[in-house]
Symmetry: C2
Subunit: 343 residues, 2 copies
Amino acid sequence: MKLGQATIKDIAKELNVSTSTVSRALKDYPGISDETKRKVKELADKLNYRPNAVALSLRKSKSFTIGVIIPEVVHFFFSTVISGVEEVAFANGYNVILCQTNEKFNREKSSVETMLSNQIDGVLVSFSRETTNFDHFKKMIELEFPIVFFDRIPDLENTINVTVNDYQGAYKAVKHLIDQGFKRIVHLSGPDNLTISKQRKEGYLDALKDSGIKVKPEWIVECPYGTEKESILITIELFKNKENRPDAIFAHHDIVAAGAMMALKALNLRIPEDVGVVGFSNWQFSSMIDPPLSTVAQPGFQIGETATKILLDLINKKTNMDSSPLNIVLDTELLIRKSSVKV
Amino acid sequence: MKLGQATIKDIAKELNVSTSTVSRALKDYPGISDETKRKVKELADKLNYRPNAVALSLRKSKSFTIGVIIPEVVHFFFSTVISGVEEVAFANGYNVILCQTNEKFNREKSSVETMLSNQIDGVLVSFSRETTNFDHFKKMIELEFPIVFFDRIPDLENTINVTVNDYQGAYKAVKHLIDQGFKRIVHLSGPDNLTISKQRKEGYLDALKDSGIKVKPEWIVECPYGTEKESILITIELFKNKENRPDAIFAHHDIVAAGAMMALKALNLRIPEDVGVVGFSNWQFSSMIDPPLSTVAQPGFQIGETATKILLDLINKKTNMDSSPLNIVLDTELLIRKSSVKV
DNA sequence: TTGTAAGCGTTATCAG
DNA sequence: CTGATAACGCTTACAA
């Protein structure tokens, strides 16, 4: 209206036919004379007719829109995921509506409400760091609302999850450090309530155990915020004592690793000669820092693609939610760069 | 329905009142008995009633949704902008629908169509690298559809734009290099059809001119793709000849700068002793590389915020499109780090 | 204080 | 081959 947007009614009036005829003509329904079809389509073209998606949604109880709830867009990993989501959604004629929670529980809850209100067809979720109560998601699941979790997955029954093999990634990373001759490997870990953090820690622990290395409790330090600054402070603290210093760091993601590297440089420790470093996630910058950072690459784009494909299948009933509590686990890849290779 | 979602009708039937009464009760309209209000609200609560946003959109011809069209989510700058957009939109009860064009013109055109079909209330656009024809946007503007361009702005009449002062940023950066004693400053420039690229180039040229430095044509090299690899190759080529080598690089963004730094290191040139480097955009990694990269910071988040505020004003008729062809230009900030400071 | 009915744009159903 | 009508969920004159 505001747009002078032509509707099916306008076309009908102009051509002296009924709206149903127009509707059918536009969709090439059988049983409409070619003549009428032609006229309708011509006029539609001329008037720049565009079907009103909102009316369609209402009519069909289907919006061709999926929602994505993530902690933060600016995290490289998440933006990669979104990119994958967008691709698949777009290819299938779906729109993507975005809500970032900024790692806030309340924001997450209200995002869920918004999404439901907006009649979206399904939702992809990676929940916030603060989230320990999953009732808002449970409600959706009970309503059989299509939902797929990725990366950060909840401790709930009957969910469909797409993750990477964090355990395996961490294991490979630490094993690699051990193979390089590092022995006192510390772990800068993530927030404890996230499965991914736990998995990475497990991988770290098992790799050490399998190599007969006994872990000291002080080797595991949580970096809940995952910022560069936090990591610098923690690293400096870790290396304060000159005796029995750690000789390698496995960080739960690259920003933390980069922070650690900055701290090490400030302490005049050489990487990797004195201290080896491996990160997680293969952030954009990781190959560009000095020395280039070894890291565990997560296929973010692929996570987005996969999760979206599954969600669309769910929406279109090709998959059934309860019939198949699904757990897709994608492989990680250890990218060995200079920061962890003894010469 | 599928969700067992309760509607106003359900409530009405259950309480033996009309739907209008329910509607009014829920919105605290005057002239509804407290008793009824209470009952309605109670039941609504119990049934987990949630207004159907789609029906509302249809009724009011307003969707409380804005669209964002950008080249790529994974670019740090754009994800920062989105973050700002999301904040303001969320705070005002608006949803954000996202389309990335992947720098493809066709994709951009179809995104515009989708958005219009979906009755979004307004749109924020940063167009693709490929876009030289602006008819699809022109159409929107002629229809008085609320649209705000940011960062990459078109050559059209009567548009509202939010940009950063690219010219000024570039000028400051190059002036700084000159002040540090660099004299043969090359510019790795962006794609020529983008205003931002032109502006940055102008800033570069003027800074040199104002300092009485004559620019050699071979000092300006276009890096249209802006990838690290492209930049490495170009830099190596630029420094091939040992005589009269450049002594500083001003790159049109940080990835390009980082690529150049990698090339310089490979050539055993020291940064900043032999070659000074300044980038653009202040990517996340820029402070973490070695040496930390001087760069021109663009307030991405603020761009997103500002553009969205203006868009919402437009939508709500607080601002008028043609009455005020607006050009908001935000300031950049030169962040001086080690890569450009002679000791 | 409450109800009736029309309408937002579209399509499915039934009837001609 | 085409038309009338109802319905999706909600709001809002207008009536009562």
